[in-house]
Symmetry: C3
Subunit: 432 residues, 3 copies
Amino acid sequence: MNLRHVPLLLAGALLLARSSVVSAEECIPCHREKTPAAVVQWEKSAHGKAGIGCEKCHGTDHDKMKRGEARVDMKACAPCHKKAFDSHRTSRHGMGLHSGWGCTRNMENRNQRECAFCHDKDSAEPLSSVQCARFLKQSTEMGEVGCNYCHSVESSCASCHTNHNTDLKIVRDPASCAKCHMGPDHPQWEMWQTSQHGTLYGTSGSSVAPDCQRCHMPQGSHDVSVGITMSSGGIPYPAEKAGPNRVEMVKICSQCHAPGFASRELSRGDAIQKQSMAIVKEAEKIVLDLDDRGLLDPMPENRPPHPLSGNKLVIDSQLLYEDTSHIERLLFKMKKYDYARTIKGAYHQNPAYTHWYGNAELKMDLVDIKAEASRLAKAGKGAAQADSSAPNEGEALRVLKRRLERGGITEAEYEAEKKKVLDQYLHGKQKP
Amino acid sequence: MNLRHVPLLLAGALLLARSSVVSAEECIPCHREKTPAAVVQWEKSAHGKAGIGCEKCHGTDHDKMKRGEARVDMKACAPCHKKAFDSHRTSRHGMGLHSGWGCTRNMENRNQRECAFCHDKDSAEPLSSVQCARFLKQSTEMGEVGCNYCHSVESSCASCHTNHNTDLKIVRDPASCAKCHMGPDHPQWEMWQTSQHGTLYGTSGSSVAPDCQRCHMPQGSHDVSVGITMSSGGIPYPAEKAGPNRVEMVKICSQCHAPGFASRELSRGDAIQKQSMAIVKEAEKIVLDLDDRGLLDPMPENRPPHPLSGNKLVIDSQLLYEDTSHIERLLFKMKKYDYARTIKGAYHQNPAYTHWYGNAELKMDLVDIKAEASRLAKAGKGAAQADSSAPNEGEALRVLKRRLERGGITEAEYEAEKKKVLDQYLHGKQKP
Amino acid sequence: MNLRHVPLLLAGALLLARSSVVSAEECIPCHREKTPAAVVQWEKSAHGKAGIGCEKCHGTDHDKMKRGEARVDMKACAPCHKKAFDSHRTSRHGMGLHSGWGCTRNMENRNQRECAFCHDKDSAEPLSSVQCARFLKQSTEMGEVGCNYCHSVESSCASCHTNHNTDLKIVRDPASCAKCHMGPDHPQWEMWQTSQHGTLYGTSGSSVAPDCQRCHMPQGSHDVSVGITMSSGGIPYPAEKAGPNRVEMVKICSQCHAPGFASRELSRGDAIQKQSMAIVKEAEKIVLDLDDRGLLDPMPENRPPHPLSGNKLVIDSQLLYEDTSHIERLLFKMKKYDYARTIKGAYHQNPAYTHWYGNAELKMDLVDIKAEASRLAKAGKGAAQADSSAPNEGEALRVLKRRLERGGITEAEYEAEKKKVLDQYLHGKQKP
């Protein structure tokens, strides 16, 4: 046995015998074996060099750490990094989780740590009532890997900064943002990378071309919502909020561009948003009408209930991509993927994303949705013909009732339409 | 007040009082504030260092500049960069706009500057009659961001070279090409990047591996059409044009590869083009036949007119992705995306693009198109059965007429087929 | 004429006059003209510097080389690189071809060299009986570019190492793996690149973050199957094989992470695999049932035969994407693309691939498959109603028979079900 290992072994034995630690000196000997990269990264980090030891972030309760209950979240970072913490909290990143979650209380194998995302300790009062139906449909594991890896940004600085490495070049690289801001629903990284901005960045660096951080985290601000004029779902803010935000963004663009040019480019994005939303609305109307007429296949009443709204049609931001009819899943693609790509592509000046991945897909979605509606209408008509006992007037009244109930028409409109149907019925009866 | 600013203020006051400028010295003081990056980039550029001032490219009419009417296009660059200008003009890039445009005269909010793409000043005579139906369907803003960002390459050197920066490393980087040559319709950048060529470039640089410029702009030529053997839509040139072009390309490949190897690789691309086109033709035949039989849903006569051809089926290069039936939109995906990816993937030696993103999608498109045709035929048959007044012979004659009118059969074939239908009708009548 | 060229010309003349070569000295003069890059790369390579000449790999039969029959495969490399060769042979890469091929004996324009992939010289005995139906459907050219570019990894070291360049930075770059491990069916490169691992690699290099090689080829091993717990098609290995492999992989993760953390992350992948497979199985059941009931459009008996199984439904790993019904092609997308992306995304810790490109697509596939099944069932019912001579009991018995024949039910279950149908028939008859 090598005598040089004796102190290390003694330290280890001491630690195993105790359940609390008080300084890095105690942790390092064991953890150099157990989590070597963490130790090396900490040693090279600003924390390590400044003597900020393990216990400052992880606490001193070793048993708790071993049970996985001593997670280091942003509250550990806040006392020292107050400015970053404060601007992060007020930004969309600080709200990230609220829009990505629902209460997991009744889910199998729920993860107790998730409570802390929405509740203060020992409080049943939620900090936010926003919930995500899509999250609530996932298994624990898919929720963890597929949802929380990104949607923990609210509470964890490590989402971007990684765990023990404090090298700022990591978070100053657009690749850091790419981890979440990519993919079919919001490929901001991909569209930036292949835009004029991104290609200039690739050849000439961030001193010539802007990256994510330069426009969305100006001067190192952690408020990523600076200059944004719409919700994360692409719904424009009211003018009183959008106006000042736009002024902010034009200021950022004007570091390189003439303000008039910048304003015009961003206005094009606004126009494209309106035009694209009109296409989405046309599709939504088709789906709502099919629901009114009982033609969705399957109808909401014949499928697993929506986690938030039960057995009724949901096509707002809580639209699901599973346990729906085919036409609703087409609408999902349209709203969540193609609408987002069109408008984000325009604001990021990427022609291929604006037009091909966005606008062209959006319009093809509408073709597909109309085709499916036509198929469903024909199948419905066929079924109605086969079932000769179905009186058309009864059906028309049922459709009106559904439309009223979902708020598609007012009570007065309902009464007027109902009268028309009944008049026609009596008129028709008299005819022969 | 700092006295050092007096000359600057005087210059500014002079400029505001006048409507013309004569040298960079007059522009810089104001524009260092208004468009700082432009000034810095110009100062560091070859132009700035050689004393080529703002007025050389922008002219001297400041009012016109402020109205956005003094756009710097390639005519500003041509006098000094004649060789590049000339070879660009004769290349496919010089034709870029012609194939991406249509006359915007009757469009709302049309952009007057667009006239100059196709007309000499004060002339109604078009320089080219090629038009793009897909462009004509777009809003002004989508046309600008989604189409013109790429399709202004004909008239603007800045498309690739950017505005004030003259650093050649920008245009010598494949990322410069990626801005346009990416996406679902022609992902040349993506397929190069993940081919053997691209991965070698990534690890070992352009001295070991070829990039876009090395093969398509040899020795700095601006004729990007060197060695290309087919149209941008993937229709092979006639042998007398394709032959010499292929010889050119094999020469380029032979800088690294044995000529026999290069020829064989490119011939594989030719074979794959033929095989893929046969699949496209099979799909086109299905769509044409449905149109003949009146089974498209909706039929061309029941939807917004095609911008160039009105209320008739268009499945050539002017095929739309909006306001069509579902099966035409499937054909659009097949022709514009999957056919292109298959053959461009093969010529760029990328197996994943050739096979998975190309060939597999192309063949799945055919499965989908056949399935939709079967659905439409069944729905049509169902409707015909329900409408017992529809005589089958009349329908058969109508189909023949449509086929004749679109040039699908000759007059003689039409007469022969018509006779058959009528004979069968008389024969059938006599039978019972 | 330059006298300095005389020796070169003499060497060339000598070579043309002879059909064999014995050393690089003889090859270089001509090949510096004919294949310049090959010569330069060899000269700079470890081989060139060590005096390992052309003839060591290419042999000495120049005629054979010119006929393309002296291909350099891994047998040329093996004698010197025995350790790499041996571990490659036992790895999944060494099996690569077997799963990518079928016998091409009866194909038009078959490539004679392909025999050597499966047969020892002059032997009709196959080394492996695994075949690929998808490969057998391809043209010679698509097979070569689309399949063999990747699936020659079994027999060719150059697949990764390239031909004459021996610079190890090429094969140590993840881009080398990307050439094959990308695309819709297995985007391992894309999902690594945009994971935490990949973004750290991009900013901080391989000393901080793991790349493909660090985890899958530890310490330069050529056994890429280390630590893998399932087949390339995503079917888990039996516990006795998966268990020890998992231990291996956790060891690799533990270079950076706590073993408990690594185990938990990988277990999440296991859970997601099981959940995803359950969705696939639900879809498979739907397709099998449609086949039993004769409702696929077209049915297997009415389309070109499957290359391995003839005119019957094939939905296992030999599932085709061409010459099938629409619903089978949806199943293909689900199994080959979306199932693979979900589970590989989870094991590679990429949320966008696990959830959006994977799980969401998988669940939308199920929506689409159910919708198509509903359409087919309705169309089938419509046809049955129109054809009043079809007795329901006969149909039910036919369905049972098909289910029995494909092994979907046991003989006993068949007899029991059959009795039920017949009882119902008799009972029904008596009723009215």
